[in-house]
């Protein structure tokens, strides 16, 4: 609560000029509109997964960016914020990409769709399927 006391009056005045007059209601309309578009898009294209995935992720990214840029005042902040946020976002992507091969890229089923892969029924079975997690792995 005492943070702003280190600011000079002109700095405070400048911050007010910039932040207090940002187009918040316009951003709200955009967010509401994009949520509506997302809803209709998801209902209309529910059978086309890749189109659904691409479109919805793009819409969610735009909405998230609007919230961060205007509401979280990234628009007004210096470069130091990005020094905190970008490494975290980079590591977030690395974490997911590094884990994908272990679970999602299992060997293809040689006989196609007709033979179903046995579903995983328990954590123990899951561990057996993923060699990294297995404790009883054959030598």
């Amino acid at each position: 609560m005492t943070d702003t006391r280190v600011l000079s009056p002109s700095e405070v005045a400048e911050e007010h000029q910039q932040e207090a007059h940002a187009p918040y209601l316009m951003v709200w309309l955009w967010l509401a509109g994009l949520t509506g578009i997302e809803y209709v898009y998801a209902a209309g294209l529910k059978d086309f997964f890749l189109i659904l995935l691409g479109g919805l992720l793009a819409l969610a990214a735009i909405k998230a960016a609007l919230v961060a840029w205007y509401f979280m005042h990234l628009k007004f902040e210096g470069k130091w914020v990005y020094l905190l946020i970008l490494p975290a976002l980079f590591l977030a992507v690395v974490l997911v990409l590094a884990l994908i091969p272990d679970l999602a890229m299992q060997p293809a089923d040689p006989e196609g769709d007709h033979v179903r892969v046995e579903p995983v029924r328990s954590d123990v079975e899951m561990a057996r399927r993923i060699p990294m997690l297995a404790t009883d792995r054959p030598a």
Binding site: M1, T2, D3, T4, R5, V6, L7, V12, E14, E15, H16, Q18, E19, A22, Y24, V27, W28, A32, T35, E38, Y39, A42, A43, K46, L52, L53, L56, L57, A60, A64, V67, A68, Y70, F71, M72, H73, F76, E77, G78, V81, L84, I85, P87, A88, L89, L91, A92, L95, V96, L99, I100, D102, L103, A104, D113, R116, V117, E118, P119, V120
Partner: protein
Amino acid sequence: MALAPTDAVGPKPGSAGVRHAPVPSHSAPVTPGKVAIWLFLATEVMFFTGLIGSYIVLRAGSPRGAYSNLYPPNTPLRGLENSRGVVLRSIGPDRSKIEEVLRSLGDRKPDEAEQVIAAVPHGVVPARSAERAEALASALRSAGAVVEVEPLKTFEWPKPYDDAVNPLAINLTAANTFVLICSSVTMVLALSAIQRGNRAKCTLFLLATVVIGSIFLSVQVFEYRQLMFEHHYPSGISANGHFVPSCSLFASCFFTMTGLHGLHVTAGVLALSVVLIASIFGAFSASNYAAIELTGLYWHFVDLVWIILFTIVYLL
């Protein structure tokens, strides 16, 4: 565009250096509190990455056949490929007759008839062959029920809007997403008001934020109650008719992610309540509003995470 505070007096056209273009040196001042909250939010990014990343990876690794429209999640489907499901859409005028027909199926558990009837209009009775399904369907029809016969459909992950495998109420949650976005707007308007020195308006917007945030939480609690206790779902969603964390990988992912997000919202509402009380007692002014700004940053982050969660958990 950055204007000098004395702009109302009006710089003369051409007077150099008075009206300046926005340059990096005019970004908002850096305060210790702001650095601290952004650092905290960076750790929160990693926290939610742990959750969302696990969800993406587990979902991508979920095999076809893990979910089906007829059998509970993770039922081994080998040998059941020719199954048909009798879907009970309406039980008609005489419930006891329908119960009798369902109980007459020899190989069922005793309470299965009640479960199937409770899940109407999506009450599913799996049958191992087309003949058995048709026999059951015609018995149910002659007892007055409206039924359909469906072939086995398998999924890697419960498909949105498919009532046979996915219980999530998208309409309700889409509305709730809008509610949370509105609370973010009232939050930023509260900050804007105090920056202009308007304490009363700031307090009102803070109150609105607390109320709207609480509405979001209440709707989520209502949704959890429906999913876990009140509503009865067909066999493709849960073996016992209720959507609880233990019934499938999808369910445990759903409850982990939305539950931990809900805890964040709860923490935000509590923090905002403290700020609201401070505001009522006149703690803030046009030169002292850091608590509102920092709580607001956290609140917007929680809203931002929900925007992503709603998309990937409910709509995809």
